[in-house]
Chain length 464, copies 2
């Protein structure tokens, strides 16, 4: 609360000290919003990306199509540069996945499941075991081999519905998905089922990355819909439940993939790069709309809007659509490696990867010193952004831009309203229809406004 009041105080004092400058900026920020809401193209781009291309798993042909499509949009904007940057990704094949359960009086009842990303099945050979329900990774350790061996571990700790920001609830539960199969295998289990990462009770199972440590025998990991997780938990109270997993998910080697990059060279400080981006890959379910088609089209809209309004940036504004955020971060890693090698400096990087919902503000990321300096600088502008319902907070930026932290620039995440995100995240329901045009556009306009202010006024340089 103290920090929050400090921010309010800064807003109050900073706004008073400006004058004409603020008026001009307020006018241009209004123009940005008017253009985006009345003539923005991002919703149409998203339609093509989701409906004509679809989901875009790293290494898939649809991913490659999306690289072509995004490059073509950027090429039509007459930027100073549009190019792709190669990286190498692990290709994973979902294959076919089924889980059925048997219990007193019933045999072979199917569960609503989806294989977790990177899960390795048993080449389609049925795996059978009694189900044991746990609430945490620690519980598996505590139960030990005696209780776990030969069984299928069912992780069923729900996301906490009382968290106002759903991402916090996700953060408090997702260890089950990421490490659940690995931990189960370490104690001799033959498979893992994980309650889906959502506070909704519905029949849509969620995928997402999982991970096996080196030397651990991979056992299949599958996400179970929350509705089926609740039913399964009830059944387990009445007696023994046996599950059979048939899964042939598997790794399929390395493939080349690509970041898509476009930039407008700055007139005065071309060496100061302001990055705006999202990730172009998605899981291979749904259409990768909110995760993260929206972030990609919003980022491209930022450049399009600035060009349409005839704004000539002083600094280099670069859009980056990253490859492979979902299962490896190879795109982000390669981007940062090359950038460091070239001695580049990212003054700021803004990622939109929290869904295309009504923007509520920005979150900034970094060490305590960096945060304090930047919070002070950005607060100079917040009075201009608050009429649009935007607030500044700390606590995360984006997985793709974090590798740039060592350059000491400001890392920013767009913070949309988070209430609906986990209705769609990593599921078949993450489709174009789940995105509202105005909400998407307001997010793009918020991003453009902040990029404009950073470009116009610059930022203090701090070493991270």
């Amino acid at each position: 609360m103290r920090n929050y009041l400090f921010l309010l105080f800064l807003v109050f004092t900073s706004f008073q000290s400006h004058g004409q400058k603020s008026d001009d900026d307020a006018f241009f920020i209004k123009e940005i919003h008017d253009y985006t809401l009345a003539a923005g193209e991002c919703y149409d781009w998203l339609h093509h990306l989701t409906k004509n291309i679809g989901h875009r798993l790293s290494g898939s042909t649809t991913y490659d199509q999306s690289v072509g499509y995004a490059s073509s949009i950027l090429s039509e904007m007459t930027l100073d540069k549009v190019y792709t940057q190669e990286c190498e990704v692990d290709y994973w094949i979902r294959g076919s996945n089924k889980v059925s359960i048997s219990y007193a009086g019933a045999e072979g009842i199917p569960l609503n499941v989806v294989a977790l990303g990177r899960s390795k099945g048993g080449n389609g050979v049925p795996i059978t075991g009694d189900i044991i329900e746990v609430k945490s990774l620690d519980e598996v350790e505590n139960l030990g081999k005696a209780e776990i061996e030969g069984k299928i571990v069912f992780y069923n700790r729900p996301m906490d519905p009382t968290q106002l920001r759903t991402f916090n609830a996700y953060g408090g539960a997702v260890d089950q998905r990421v490490f659940g199969a690995n931990k189960a295998s370490q104690y001799g289990a033959v498979g893992a089922l994980v309650r889906s990462m959502t506070t909704s009770i519905d029949d849509v199972p969620h995928t997402g990355s999982s991970y096996y440590e080196e030397g651990v025998t991979p056992v299949p990991g599958l996400g179970v819909s929350t509705q089926d997780a609740e039913k399964l938990s009830e059944l387990l109270k009445t007696g023994k439940v046996e599950a059979t997993i048939i899964s042939d998910s598997d790794d399929a080697g390395k493939r080349p993939s690509y970041n898509v990059i476009g930039e407008i060279k700055g007139t005065d400080f071309p060496e100061e790069i302001i990055l705006v981006g999202g990730h172009l890959d998605s899981w291979d379910v749904g259409e990768g709309a909110h995760d993260d088609g929206t972030g990609c089209v919003q980022s491209m809209q930022v450049l399009k809007t600035l060009i349409a309004l005839d704004y000539k940036p002083k600094r280099t504004i670069r859009v980056v659509l990253f490859a492979n955020e979902e299962n490896g971060l190879a795109g982000a890693t390669e981007y940062a490696r090359v950038s460091n090698e070239k001695g580049e400096f990212h003054l700021a990087a803004l990622e939109s990867d929290s869904g295309g919902f009504t923007p509520r503000g920005f979150s900034i990321d970094g060490s305590k010193d960096v945060l304090e300096t930047y919070a002070k600088a950005v607060n100079e502008w917040m009075a201009l952004l608050e009429p649009y319902g935007l607030m500044l907070s700390t606590g995360g930026s984006g997985a793709d831009i974090r590798p740039l932290m060592n350059q000491g620039g400001l890392l920013i995440g767009l913070r949309p309203d988070s209430q609906r995100y986990f209705d769609f995240h990593h599921t078949a329901a993450d489709t174009f229809e789940a995105v509202n045009k105005r909400e998407l556009e307001l997010g793009a306009a918020a991003m453009t406004s902040l990029i404009y202010l950073i470009d116009k006024y610059g930022l203090p340089k701090v070493k991270g």
Copy 2:
């Protein structure tokens, strides 16, 4: 902006001056949110209201069923009083409505339309006329009888997409729907088509109230989907377009209807009433989910939450679910009449009738003097509500509580995020599925928090 800064300043100073009091309140407001998000019943109630009952036009049997259902929910809460209050409503029958157009090379192409509320058709006798497109009521006056007589007037001024708050865009366009058929008839037109009230371009036509002045010959008025409005406008650029309207919408006399009321009597100041409510009726399309099933179940949730948390109100807290907001306001009028007759005093009234979306704050309503006094009082609490993303603004409360303004109490509207509202408002798309559980619950929790603060600390009394 000046007012906004004043509010910020008040927040800042008022928060500093409190201490223990704020801590206790912050704790209870957190409890309100936790309970509503983890155990709130409003989403289940909404499911029953929309799926088992459905839309609820004034005077319909489904409206009466909803009176029974809401009464039963309130009765189970062991309030001090639960009752219904009779009023008399105009019953209107939509009947069957069709519009087809003919133009060079095409005959009888259907348009996607819905009769406007209270529209009177021609008893099903076809009405034919050339279409004339206008952008305003004034344009009809300026064109005059010479251009309008015998024609079908097509009002096609879109809602302004650059308005941040969609209700402002609605306010700038809705005169076409309310007065369009009436104005057209005054100049001799035989019917009116009105572009639907949404910034979306889609195939969902919108209904909503319309109105004939006494002495004006009623001609049918129909809402056209925005997609068809755009197409029709393009066609009209190429030449003559003739329309045939077949409609038998009509008035069907008076019927009894009912407000549903429940209250907890205050322990210390029972004569100070704090009202919380929404309207139980809806248009006869869709399921009346966002308009205004959500406001009704949120209002009932307020009482349920306070009871569950064992809060004993000092003042009388009364939930009112109003009849007939959509086409007559008979419920609100009768409620205020009886209240005034009894000499009651509503210290505050809070209506939720802007959809069940993420709450962004509250808006207060009244004369300048009243607003200033109340804004100052409510701002004392805003630091407690801002962590939940809630801000205070002026500019409207709710149609059902406005008749209470003469009592001089504070009138408040819940302000949810408005971006998606006109995707659903008055359409077949306003269904349960369009409501997110958490967004609905957060609205209910915001309402409960403010009602709690008003009850605990009271408000200065001002004559309106």
